[in-house]
Structure formats: structure tokens, C-alpha cells
Amino acid sequence: MQLEILISKFQQKDEKAFEKLYRMYSESMHGVIYNIVRDHALAEEVMQDVFIKAWNNANSYSAEKGRFFTWILNIARNAAIDKTRSKTFKNSRKNLDAEYFVDILQHSDSLDDQTDAIGIKKFVSQLAKKCIEVIELLYFQGFTQKEASETLDIPIGTIKTRNRNCIKELRTIVLN
């Protein structure tokens, strides 16, 4: 219930509520954005835009339409993808296609202390490729169930259950 109050305050332009929500979700949004643009400066720039956009359009959010996290996640993904479509981005970077979020996890030595770095790494090492793919598309890229099923060439129903099982596995690792 506390989150609902926080969001309602945020919608009433409460600066403290904004700060609190920022601390709750900024790292997560940055991870998603960085995974798409793969550039530190650019990721920070996009994240600023995302939270400014969220502040300015706070009233367009409604709990009936979905989770607040999902709402801001959607803004972040769209903003990051928009950035990758810009001309300057295309000219500077060409080869991103084959990369998944796991690359960042596997190659990074400086994962934030707040996250359960060891647990996540363990999870990633245990995850089957089919889990990595479906999580990448559904959460990091914002694909719909249908888009994911077409991209991975598997039935829609399979996407749903496979994803359910992968997240279940994730939860046992990161949430105890």
C-alpha cells in the first residue's frame, strides 16, 4: 500500500516522492538502457530524459493499466531504442545485434554492492540459453508475447510457460 501512496504523491508533484522512486528504480532503468545503447555517457543521458519524462507525464500513469515499474520500464526501453535509431548512434555503433544482457554481467567486475552480484552471476551461469533469450526479449527489449514467439520461432504458449519457469528460477536465487 505504501508504494501506491508514494506514486500518488509523485503524481501530485511531490519532489521527495520523486527522489524515493528514483532511488528505487534508477539502477534498474539504467541497466535496461545501458543494455540497449551500450555506452555509459549515452545511457546516463537517456536515463535523465526518462525520469524527466516520467515527472512531466506523471498524470498519464494509472494503476489500472499496469505496475508503476512496468510503466517507467516502458518509457526507458522506448527512449533507449529511440536513441539507437538516431543517425549519430547508427554511425558510431554498428554491431550490437548478438549481444544479450548476460554479456554485461559476465564481463563486469564492478557490479554494484547493492545487488546480489554473486547470486546474479550464479544465476546467469546456471541459466539455460533459452531463459536468457526470453528474458532479454520480454524484459530488456520490451517485446510482446507474440513478437517474442515470432522472433524465437516457438509457440506463444511456450513463451508464457518458459518465461514463468525462468523467472521462478531467478527468484529462488535473488530473493531467497
Binding site: H30, V32, I52, T70, L73, L105, S110
Partner: protein, 271 residues
């Protein structure tokens, strides 16, 4: 509905991912309110995803929040003026109307003041005209009184009328004396004389003929400025004739005969 089967379907994981349709989202929302275990499941899924996505972040810039706050002008003095600016149009409308009203009233006042001054000026003019007319009436009355007095004098049966004819080179000049022997006064009508040149005055003489003895009756100093050219002069002499000469200012002891303009003999009284 079998809640466990609903949870196990995987719809809640897609809900958090934002991969559902609008209608499906509404349905999950209602289920969350209806069943606490659905709600808890969603919260757990969300927490796991937040952790996973945050793990891929390697955010270095701690000032990022401050940068965003600066861009949103939090804590800045004009953050509050921004709020005020919403009501600004109202304020402006009132101000403009106020100023317009003030201007109209001001203009009205000026106009009234102007009108008042004009009326006062008109009143002044009327008063001056009034005073002028009053003066004219007084003047007319005085002139009328003078004329009546003159008329009464001329009508007196004892009046002797003596016409004075032009002399020598002044032949075209003339004058007339009305003499009342009883009150020893004459009226000289000198309309037939030209204006006296500057530095000169006309002098009136009473004459005895045998021997010729002139007696001055005085100079007419205000001849040029007098309107009707009729002058009242005292005369106690037993005059036999009257003459008028032009003399230097102040008059002369004896008449200058070269400058004798008019002369007339008193007719002998009827037997």
C-alpha cells in the same frame, strides 16, 4: 477460479514485463485486488526483475539525480514562480481591466475639469460683458442727462444765439455761441473747427467793439478729445462779439489776429 492455476499460467510474469494487452492488464489488476496471493506473486516477480535489471547497471555518476533535479528546477527559487504562473493570466486580466478602468476614469475627470474651466471662462466673459454693458448704460444715461440739460438750456427763452463765421483763410470754419445772460454762461458749439495742431490750443475771446477790447474766456484744452465739441464756459462780460483764435499752449494775453478762426457779433436785442 483456481488461483494457483492462474498464477502458474505465467500471465503475471508477462504483466510485469508489460507484454500484455490493455484488457489483460485490467484483468490482472482486478485479480490482484481480489486475491492477496496474486498480488504477492506480482510483487515478488517485480522485485526479482528489478534486481536482475539493476545488476546490469554499472552506473558511476552519483550526481545524476542532482542533474535531473536541476533540470526539473527542484529547489530553485523559480520552481515556485512556475506554479504561480498558472494563475498569472487571471492576474493579468484583472490588472489590465483595472488599468483600463483607471484610464477611463482619469480621462473622464480630465474632461470634466476641462469642461468646468471652459464654463468658468465663459462665465467670466459674460460677467465682463455684463459690466461693460452696465457701464454703457451709465454712460448713455449720463449722455442723455447732458443732452437734456443742453436741450433745456437751448430752449430757454433768454438764450441768445451767436453764429461765428470763418475769417480770412479759415473761411470754411464756423462755430456757434449760445449765451444765457441771466446765469452768465455760454455754450460754445465748436464742431466747425478743425483739430488743433499739437502745441496749440483754441482760445475763446469776448469782445467789446468800441473801442475793440478782447477779454479771454479761457482756452479749450480738451478740444481734440471732446466728443460733441460743445463746451460750457462762464461769461460775466457785457460781450458785443465772440471770437476764437489759435494760440500757443497755455493761451495768450491778447489774441493773435493772424490766427483768428471765427468771429461773430452779438445781435442787438429786439426793441
Amino acid at each position: 477460479m483456481d488461483i494457483n492455476a492462474y498464477i502458474a499460467s505465467g500471465i503475471l510474469e508477462l504483466y510485469v514485463a508489460g507484454a500484455l494487452s490493455e484488457d489483460e492488464n485490467k484483468e490482472v489488476y482486478q485479480m490482484m485486488h481480489k486475491y492477496p496471493e496474486v498480488r504477492q506473486e506480482v510483487l515478488d516477480i517485480e522485485a526479482a526483475i528489478v534486481k536482475l535489471t539493476a545488476a546490469t547497471s554499472n552506473i558511476k555518476n552519483a550526481d545524476l539525480l542532482q542533474a535531473i533535479k536541476d533540470k526539473l528546477t527542484f529547489n530553485a527559487p523559480d520552481a515556485h514562480t512556475k506554479v504561480i504562473s498558472i494563475t498569472k493570466p487571471k492576474y493579468n486580466w484583472l490588472t489590465y481591466t483595472g488599468w483600463a478602468a483607471a484610464l477611463i476614469i482619469g480621462a473622464g475627470l480630465l474632461w470634466t475639469l476641462n469642461q468646468n474651466q471652459e464654463l468658468e471662462s465663459n462665465l467670466n466673459t459674460a460677467e465682463i460683458e455684463n459690466a461693460y454693458l452696465e457701464e454703457q448704460i451709465i454712460n448713455s444715461r449720463s449722455v442723455l442727462a447732458d443732452s437734456k440739460k443742453l436741450l433745456n438750456f437751448l430752449r430757454d427763452k433768454d438764450i441768445i444765439s451767436v453764429p461765428l463765421g470763418g475769417q480770412g483763410e479759415f473761411a470754411n470754419t464756423y462755430a456757434k455761441v449760445y449765451w444765457n445772460k441771466k446765469d452768465n454762461s455760454i455754450y460754445l458749439d465748436a464742431q466747425g473747427l478743425p483739430e488743433a495742431p499739437s502745441g496749440k490750443v483754441y482760445q475763446v475771446w469776448s469782445l467789446k467793439l468800441n473801442p475793440l477790447t478782447p477779454t479771454s474766456l479761457g482756452t479749450i484744452d480738451d478740444f481734440n478729445t471732446d466728443d460733441n465739441k460743445i463746451f460750457a464756459i462762464a461769461n460775466a462780460n457785457q460781450s458785443e462779439a465772440f471770437g476764437i483764435t489759435l494760440e500757443p499752449e497755455g493761451g495768450s494775453e491778447t489774441p493773435t489776429m493772424e490766427q483768428l478762426y471765427t468771429l461773430g457779433v452779438v445781435p442787438a436785442p429786439a426793441p
